[in-house]
């Protein structure tokens, strides 16, 4: 069990700056996700925590210990690799036993632990086979088994589910969470799949281009994204954005879209903030579930467009609307009756909007 602190951590590959002075504080026993697109620096960060990648500058602390110069083995971490990294010439049993054998544990104890872990992860049937002979799902579980067999201080997961097919992925996701809660070990989980991060993490750190964009609980990140990147990255379907200027409509402040002249009322909660932003161009964002479509013009309809396509997905539906050339995605009931080309009117729940400055990309409301 350990806290992890990253202080001004840098990683450069030659001239390329992969990680640019990030700061993170991970609590003891926490399930912490580092989320971001490919190339954002998340894997480099994790590898530095593990000790298999050298640190260009900055510090990594485990509790009160500076671990910069410690070999991986001394840091007492366990890592599940994206490609599983199983030992090809060894059987599953030997793969699981490897970490313990490497540390000179007595044979009897090793066998005991291997049996335990095999039972927890349902690997009993494949113990005598080699990695090349078992399925991807099994391989993934062996990778996890190798992690937990040692009871380390920290679990590190490097996109362990990215090569698992979606059916198994959802199942495995639950397994990973279960394991972490079983052992209450501090865990750092790297992924590019935002729904995975949202489902698993106690807290998430969103990274892009080597920098931390925002750190917070899934809730905070979802509802109060700090900038356009986070807003756009989290949530599926993602935020819908409208470039607007603030206008005064007979005493009422409203966001007037640059294209199409639609109006979204500025809610009372943020009226003061918007008061001094007249004629400033802002980017207004609304999540798909906070827009209500109607095939008939309503009194409070704010935006109108034409149906582009409707996808009925069983439990819900995704309606894509063409509003002056831009596509807006809306979550609806599964039985919406619009057809491509139909006119549709949209009502936006103003209390749920987020406002961003297109130039700084920051959330105007949270700063």
């Amino acid at each position: 069990m350990s806290t992890i602190a990253l202080r001004s951590l840098w990683k450069k590959y030659g001239k390329v700056e992969a990680v640019k002075g990030i700061n993170l504080q991970i609590q003891d026993g926490e399930f912490f996700c580092i989320l971001g697109p490919s190339g954002c620096g998340k894997t480099s960060t994790m590898r530095m925590i593990a000790g298999i990648e050298s640190i260009t500058a900055g510090e990594i602390w485990f509790d009160n210990q500076l671990v910069n110069d410690l070999a991986p083995v001394k840091r007492d971490v366990a890592m599940a690799f994206e490609t599983y990294a199983l030992y090809p010439p060894l059987t599953v049993k030997e793969n699981l036993a490897f970490p313990l054998e490497a540390r000179g544990e007595p044979k009897a104890r090793i066998n005991e632990r291997v049996e335990e872990v095999a039972k927890i992860l349902d690997l009993v049937d494949v113990l005598d086979q080699k990695p090349a002979q078992i399925s991807g799902g099994h391989q993934q579980r062996v990778s996890l088994g190798r992690c937990i067999i040692r009871k380390p201080r920290v679990f590190l997961f490097d996109e362990p589910l990215s090569h698992v097919d979606s059916e198994a992925r959802r199942k495995m996701r639950g397994e990973v969470k279960r394991l972490q809660q079983m052992f209450k070990t501090t865990s750092v989980y790297v992924t590019h799949d935002q729904s995975e991060a949202m489902a698993l993490a106690d807290r998430i750190s969103v990274m892009n281009l080597g920098e931390v964009q925002q750190t917070g609980t899934p809730n905070e990140i979802y509802h109060h994204p700090h900038n356009l990147f986070v807003a756009d990255f989290i949530g599926e379907p993602p935020f819908n954005f409208f470039d607007c200027s603030v206008v005064s409509d007979g005493g009422q402040l409203a966001f007037r879209t640059q294209v199409g002249n639609h109006r979204i009322l500025v809610p009372n909660t943020i009226k003061e903030r918007m008061g001094d932003s007249l004629d400033r161009v802002l980017r207004v964002g609304v999540r798909p579930m906070y827009i209500t479509p109607s095939l008939v013009e309503q009194e409070d309809s704010q935006i109108h467009g034409t149906v582009y396509v409707f996808e009925g997905l069983g439990e819900e539906g995704v309606l894509t609307v063409d509003v002056d050339g831009s596509l807006i995605r809306i979550l609806t009931e599964p039985d919406f009756e619009g057809k491509p080309g139909d006119r549709v009117w949209l009502n936006v729940d103003s209390s749920r909007i987020q406002v961003f400055d297109p130039k700084t990309t920051n959330n105007v409301l949270s700063c």
Binding site: A50, G51, I52, A71, P72, V73, V77, A78, M79, F81, T83, A85, L86, Y87, P88, P89, L90, E94, F98, P99, E101, A102, R103, R146, R150, L156
Partner: protein, 284 residues
């Protein structure tokens, strides 16, 4: 699978040369069953007579078998671990150094064994050779590398090492480079010492390459001829008298083609047997 006959007609002719060579080999086999003398041609069919003679009435044969085996065990037994060690060292390097060293390593591969042997003759010269000069400098006595029956075989092994270690190194190097890298990172995290990782991970993964190296080396060592002919020709006092030299002498010096070929067949059988034995260890 492509249209039927045309490709066969066009590609199978290219098997003519290998087929002809196989035929020559079989012919050689036949000749070994006769008393083919280069002066008189074939006079009698001897069946296994030549072979019987070899086994029972030819101390030179058994001597050459012993020498060949001794040489081969030394050559293979030394070049393989050394090549492996050098390959491991090489794979620890990065960048420019690797390319440079690799290029240097390839030099012995481009050189005819005969030319290399000549080169070593110069260096191993008893009076003017560089080696003895070096020994002298350090206070050690000069050695008659190729003229002393006790040392001559070892000198040949040294020459063989010069020629073969680069080859073995390159095979193992290619092998090491082809190994997956992430299991090694996992091993680091799992806390395995270098030696433990080597024993449990590298060695088993390198088995196929080890097999290749051993097969080639064994065959080359057992079939050695060029280097011996160019240096000692089997001497001094038969210290380096190997099977191929024995066969050569029989055919060229004593004109006994049939007998010489019998020796060759036996050599081939030995190589075949050794290869088979080695293949049994193949990890399939």
């Amino acid at each position: 699978m492509i249209r039927r006959w045309l490709p066969y007609y066009l590609t199978l002719p290219s098997f003519i040369v290998p087929t002809a060579l196989t035929f020559a080999w079989i012919l050689g086999l036949y000749y070994s069953l006769t008393d083919f003398d280069l002066r008189y041609g074939i006079r009698n069919y001897l069946g296994l007579g030549n072979y019987a003679d070899l086994i029972t009435r030819s101390p030179a044969f058994w001597g050459s078998v012993a020498t060949t085996l001794k040489y081969s065990i030394l050559a293979v037994g030394l070049s393989t671990p050394i090549g492996f060690a050098v390959a491991m060292l090489l794979s620890q390097l990065t960048g420019l150094k690797t390319r440079l060293i690799r290029t240097i390593m390839m030099a012995p591969l481009c050189i005819s064994p005969v030319v290399a042997t000549i080169m070593w003759r110069i260096i191993m010269g008893p009076t003017q050779g560089l080696l003895n000069y070096g020994l002298n400098l350090v206070g050690l006595p000069k050695l008659d590398w190729l003229g002393n029956p006790g040392i001559a075989l070892w000198s040949l092994v040294i020459i063989d090492l010069w020629l073969s270690v680069p080859f073995v190194t390159l095979i193992f190097y290619g092998g090491l480079q082809s190994l997956p890298k992430t299991p090694y990172e996992a091993a680091q995290v799992d806390g395995a010492s270098r030696f433990f990782t080597f024993r449990k991970l590298t060695l088993p993964l390198m088995k196929p390459f080890l097999m290749i190296a051993l097969l080639f080396r064994a065959a080359d060592a057992l079939n050695a001829f060029d280097t011996i002919y160019a240096s000692t020709k089997g001497g001094p006092m038969r210290a380096t008298y190997m099977l191929n030299i024995y066969a050569y002498d029989n055919v060229i010096r004593w004109k006994q083609l049939g007998y010489g070929l019998a020796i060759m067949v036996v050599t081939y059988l030995i190589v075949y047997a050794v290869s088979k034995r080695l293949m049994a260890f193949w990890p399939r």
